[in-house]
């Protein structure tokens, strides 16, 4: 009796663990053909990417990188491949797999992969690596770090928010308090760049504006994001900018419920967050697709910028504001002019945007 039961138990537990781990380890490979017509220019470059644990469908960096890859396939005729990481432990095996299959450049998406790229790059000296959102010091000769001047795009978001909070005609959600809000994911230097740029932009057009910044402590807890939104709105914030991943989705919900405008981040969130149109003023986009495409193009042309850190700012088209969408007709020309002026100033170098507080 006892041995029979313990055998059943052992099998049941083994099965439970098996079922638990299988989806965790499964790597979905997305194979893409070399694409389309024969009239496309031919190249022998095979570009690939390894997603962060968010995977494809994150409506953010992974999807955007994939957009860049697909554009390269279409316009440059490169062969492309995507491997998704389900766990942090998948990074290394995914990169190994692609490097051994002859893919180069290989894009590793997300700063969590920085150490893996730094470790593996010397083992595959003939393979080119692109680290999206990754900073290396020193930079291996076959690696390019693709970083963004988030503070520049956030400055423009700040200009919009700083003016919008005084623009009653824009929306009935605008109040008299002259307060705007910032929601950050984790208090790390990368997120500080967003906050610093946002505050500088807002103060440049509205010196008296009060900017309240709250941090969630993670990038996934939507319920926390909503509570942060409630608190900001209770303090009078009527325009809120979030650089906090999924946490920001909760903040959008708070804006919808309690009446405040929202500025999205990374992607054009008007398009990626269904039902957010009536609060989504604009978004600060990180054009990861541009960075990935430009890097592949450089590789195809034979001048891959290995051993450097590329910073994509407003000038390079690496960050930008999304359209106002539903607010297009309500946003007064004065705000649009101020944004255009700030953009020009940053590109000219007459405006220096701080990247830390």
């Amino acid at each position: 009796m006892n041995t029979k039961w313990s055998r059943i138990l052992a099998v049941a537990l083994a099965l439970t663990l098996l079922v638990a781990f299988v989806p965790g380890c499964a790597k979905k490979t997305t194979d893409e053909g070399t694409g389309g017509g024969t009239e496309e220019p031919k190249t022998t470059v095979k570009a690939a990417m390894v997603t962060d644990v968010g995977g494809l469908g994150d409506k953010s960096f992974n999807d955007l990188s994939y957009e860049g890859l697909k554009r390269a396939e279409k316009e440059l005729g490169v062969e492309i491949k995507v491997l998704e990481s389900k766990e942090i432990t998948d990074y290394e095996s995914n990169i190994d797999q692609l490097a051994n299959a002859g893919y180069s450049p290989i894009f590793a998406v997300g700063f969590l992969m920085t150490d893996t790229v730094a470790k593996l790059a010397p083992q595959y000296p003939d393979t080119q690596f692109g680290g999206v959102d990754e900073f290396f010091d020193p930079v291996p000769a076959n690696v390019v770090g693709l970083t963004f001047k988030e503070h520049e795009g956030s400055y423009l978001a700040g200009v919009v928010a700083g003016l919008a909070t005084k623009e009653k005609a824009l929306s009935d959600k605008i109040n008299d308090a002259n307060v705007i809000g910032f929601v950050g994911g984790m208090d790390v230097p990368l997120i500080k760049k967003f906050e610093a740029g946002f505050i500088a932009g807002a103060k440049s057009v509205n010196p008296d504006v009060k900017v309240i910044s709250l941090y969630a402590g993670n990038f996934t807890d939507q319920a926390k994001g909503k509570e942060l939104g409630y608190s900001l709105i209770e303090q009078g914030a009527d325009v809120i900018y979030a650089a906090a991943g999924a946490v920001g989705l909760g903040t959008i919900e708070a804006c919808k419920e309690k009446g405040a405008l929202f500025i999205g981040v990374d992607a054009d969130q008007y398009l990626t967050v269904p039902g957010s149109g009536d609060v989504m003023l604009t978004s600060m986009m990180k054009r990861v697709d541009v960075a990935v495409f430009e890097t592949i193009k450089a590789a195809v042309d034979g001048n891959f910028p290995g051993g450097t850190i590329k910073e994509f700012g407003l000038k390079e088209g690496g960050v930008d504001l999304a359209p106002f969408h539903d607010f297009e007709n309500k946003v007064p020309q004065s705000i649009k002019d101020a944004v255009a002026k700030a953009r020009q100033g940053i590109i000219d170098g007459t405006i220096q945007v701080p990247d830390k507080l």
């Binding site: 079922v19 968010g54 995977g55 389900k86 709250l214 608190s231 999924a246 909760g250």
Partner: protein, 317 residues
């Protein structure tokens, strides 16, 4: 400054954030009182949250979603019950396995159902129970604003959690079911000798904990945020376990402990507003609820002793 911290939303926020913790914690209390440790609360909550989102998306009816969340919680709990009661498995191992299972399963199903991981589309939400007119100006208006903000601004499951805490407390100490439940956790052999079925009693308790943790998941998805994100429970199931111990294995205590954790979390958000003025890094505020947990569990409030037979499989005969 104090007026910016002590606001109606501070207390309302505490209640909201306490609700998923409290439901799971009361579930944990009932389960442990019967002698079964349930560290799978986190995974059950996550599964409930996912089922709630998926069924609400499919049917368009959030109440059906709540029901689905509860049933999904019961289903996962049934695995735990079978493993730990019938198979006499180590309850901690079974619970850990289920937590990992829930994380993998919800991610896997998301990909299967929606073609992508991450976050689902928005679901239809259950809105606050009362919608009151804007209070007038002046002192009366201020009082009304507080009453409304703190007590009347909530969604149904927030109130349900309070009712559940009261009813469970009463049932555990004033009914025959409660007496038997406690007997199972203290001395199952004695209970068995007087004709109480240990297996049946424990099964019922484990399933109840599953239903409550599933309801906690429904609260998160259908009342609070309106979409499912992978691993969105963010350790709430484990905080709930702590709340159960802090509440000394009583439903009312579990609720109050959860309220304290919720309040600490709400307070840290409000305190963050003054980061610029008092030079304290936000990490300090963010860790407040967890520091509180550690202090509480380290026994500042006195030694907490659980049911004598908790964690021990019962072998008949």
């Amino acid at each position: 400054m104090l007026g910016d911290i002590i606001t109606p939303d501070l207390f309302a926020s505490a209640l909201r954030m306490a609700t998923p913790l409290a439901l799971a914690a009361i579930g944990g209390t009932i389960c442990e009182r019967s002698g079964v440790v349930n560290i799978a609360l986190e995974g059950i909550m996550l599964t409930g949250a996912f089922a709630g989102a998926a069924i609400t998306l499919a049917t368009g009816n959030p109440w059906v979603g709540v029901l689905a969340a509860v049933l999904a919680g019961v289903a996962i709990a049934a695995i735990h019950a079978f493993a730990s009661i019938n198979l006499r498995a180590d309850q901690v191992v079974s619970g850990t396995g289920l937590n990992i299972l829930a994380l993998g399963l919800t991610g896997f199903l998301m990909e299967r159902l929606y073609g992508h991981p991450g976050t689902t589309d928005p679901v239809k939400m259950i809105r606050p129970l009362f919608s009151l007119p804007k209070p007038p100006e002046g002192f009366v208006g201020e009082v009304l604003r507080w009453v409304e903000g703190v007590f009347l601004s909530h969604t149904p499951i927030v109130y349900a959690a309070i009712v559940i805490a009261v009813v469970a407390q009463w049932a555990m100490y004033k009914t025959r079911w409660g007496l038997r439940l406690r007997a199972l956790g203290e001395h199952p052999k004695a209970a068995d000798t007087v004709g109480i079925s240990v297996y049946r009693g424990r099964w019922a308790a484990v399933l109840m904990s599953g239903a409550l943790a599933g309801l906690a998941g429904a609260n998160l998805v259908i009342e609070q945020v309106g979409s499912f994100t992978e691993n969105m429970t963010n350790g709430r199931g484990f905080i709930a376990l702590a709340a159960n111990i802090f509440g000394r294995w009583t439903p009312a205590g579990s609720y109050l402990a959860s309220l304290l954790f919720g309040f600490a979390d709400a307070l840290q958000i409000k305190l963050q507003m003054f980061r610029g003025q008092i030079d304290i890094p936000p990490q300090f505020f963010l860790m407040l609820p967890y520091v509180l947990t550690v202090i509480v569990l380290a026994g500042v409030i006195g030694r907490a002793v659980g049911p004598a037979a908790v964690g021990q499989p019962y072998e008949k005969g």
